[in-house]
Structures are given as C-alpha cells and as structure tokens.
C-alpha cells in the first residue's frame, strides 16, 4: 500500500518525527499517529491537526491533505487552537496569536519585518530566543512544540546573532 511521509510535530512530541500514513486515510488517523509519538503522561482534551503555517485546523473527518510530489507533509497536533506569542525587541513587546503549527521562522519574519520594520537581510541577522532562557529553537520548529496544551502562551526575545571570536 502506498503511503505518505509526514513530518510531525506537536504537544508532547519530541523534535520532528518522520511518520508514514497509508493513502486514503483521514485526518483523524493522524491523531492516532500523534498519540503513538507523544511522550509522558496521557493528557485529556481534544487534539487538533494543523498543516504547517496554517491558521485553522483540519476537519478530522476530511481526507488527509496531499503532499507535493517528493515532499513530505508538515503537520502539527495540539490542544491549543492559538498560541499567544509575545516578542520583545529593544525593550518593546508585541503580541500576536498564531496557530501552533506556525514555524519559529514565520514568527521571526512577522516580528522582525512586519512589526519591527527590519529589511529581510537585517532580519536574517536576528534570531528568536525563548524568554528567560538561552534556547534558540530551530527555524522549522513549530511554536506549539514549545508549549503545553494547558498554557497556550510563549515569549521570545528577538536578538542579534553574535560574532564568534577569541
């Protein structure tokens, strides 16, 4: 049976998991795959499936979305419908509600270019760092992977890349 490759992220799912879904399956079957990948204690609540960087969840009874030829699907499973996201730069904090499948790169572009008016080139010299930590999630990390379903909120600092010397 033919199958599609899925790069799956989500609440309680470590890193990015490569999973396969048989052709003809529906969105609800992706929830089962996510259950198998989730670590830690079982959690209650309704999980939703999002395509990467899409605002609204997929209908659980609809067919699984089709991937572009040769490319995997990029999906996210989370209990939060939106993540309250705060980005601080030069002492100024801006807020937006993103879907959990939004990549760290997309949040950075929003903050650096749209909100803080950097050029794309200057934006590339900056990175998002989780507030209160030294953690800088990879650009293709979905922000939902960084928060739990009971706390749909995250804060970042937008910081410049530093030269490595001496």
């Amino acid at each position: 049976m033919k199958s599609i490759e899925i790069l799956l992220q989500g609440e309680g799912i470590p890193d990015i998991q490569l999973v396969k879904l048989e052709d003809g399956k529906c969105v609800r079957d992706i929830l089962v795959l996510a259950d198998q990948q989730r670590k830690g204690q079982p959690v209650a609540g309704e999980f939703l499936v999002f395509a990467e960087d899409e605002e609204e969840p997929l209908d659980p009874d609809s067919s699984a979305p089709e991937a572009k030829p040769g490319e995997p699907l990029r999906l996210h499973v989370h209990r939060c419908r939106k993540i309250e996201t705060l980005v601080t730069f030069n002492g100024e904090t801006k807020e937006h509600h993103f879907s959990p499948s939004t990549t760290v790169e997309a949040v950075k572009r929003w903050a650096a270019i749209k909100v803080f008016h950097m050029t794309p080139a200057d934006a590339a010299e900056h990175v998002l760092q989780i507030a209160g930590t030294t953690t800088r999630p990879d650009p293709d990390t979905h922000i939902g992977s960084l928060v739990s379903g009971t706390h749909c909120k995250i804060g970042f600092n937008l910081v410049p890349h530093k030269r490595v010397e001496g």
């Binding site: 010299e125 650009p139 490595v164």
Partner: protein
Amino acid sequence: MSDGVITPDEQVLRLHLESGRFRSGTAAGRWRLVSLDWPFLIVTVTARDGVEYGFRFECRDYPRTAVTSQPWDVELNAPLQPNKWPGGQSRVLLAFNPGWKNGSCLYLPCDRHAIEGHDNWRTEHPSLLWDPDKGICKYLVIIYELLNSKDYGGRRVP
C-alpha cells in the same frame, strides 16, 4: 570500518540521518546527504546564492563527542581550495577561516577541535554548542544560518 560491523556511534549517526529533523532540512533544500563512509560523512549545505558547499564531518564517538567539519570539494573528494570557501565581512569570515588550523575545521563552538581552548564560548555562545540529542542537524543548522545570513558574500573568489 572494513569488517562490516556497524559500531554504536555509526548506528546513532545513521539513525539521525533517517530522523525527521534531517529529513526536514533535506526536504526544504537546506542540505543534502552526499555520502557516509564511516567515520566520514559528507553533506552539502545550500547558501542564499544557491551555491552548494560540501562539508566533510569526522564523526568518531558520535554523538557523545562533537564532530569536526571542514569545507570539502565534493567533485574532487578533497579539501576545498581556500579561494572557494564562503566569504563575508564578519561572522562568515570568522567561521570559515582557511587559516585556522590549516582549514581542517570550522571556527565554531559546535566543532570538536575549535571548542578546544575556548571555554569562554560555553557561556558566550551557549546556543552554538554541540548538542548530542540534535547531533549533526545542530551543526548543519548553524552552517545553514551563516550561509544564508546578510553577512554571507558568496565564494571568496567567485
């Protein structure tokens, strides 16, 4: 290894190369696996001008010990000539420095050889340190970021 036995360090590297994180980078066109001839791994990383730079990683004791990497000419299967290394004004020039240890490694905190004698990097650049859990993908993300930065200016001599 010539006896056909896959050692635990090679086994972990192979698992990381089959991981979702590595696949994500490949699917996005950020990097491409060229070969694995243990303990040497060759991967190309795409710069913002479309140039694919080859890197040869030496991966003994992976992932407990950080890998070390040098720019590699994939066609010649040899170290990349210094004039073909990535160029830039600041961060890129420092990281890709053919004069550093004769071009045998990159000047980055995630590199096994470069971190030696640079304990200050552990506090100054915690996000650029080697991470055994992310392994080779961590190093590749750092290279990709540099090659797609504003500072990157193409090959040293185009």
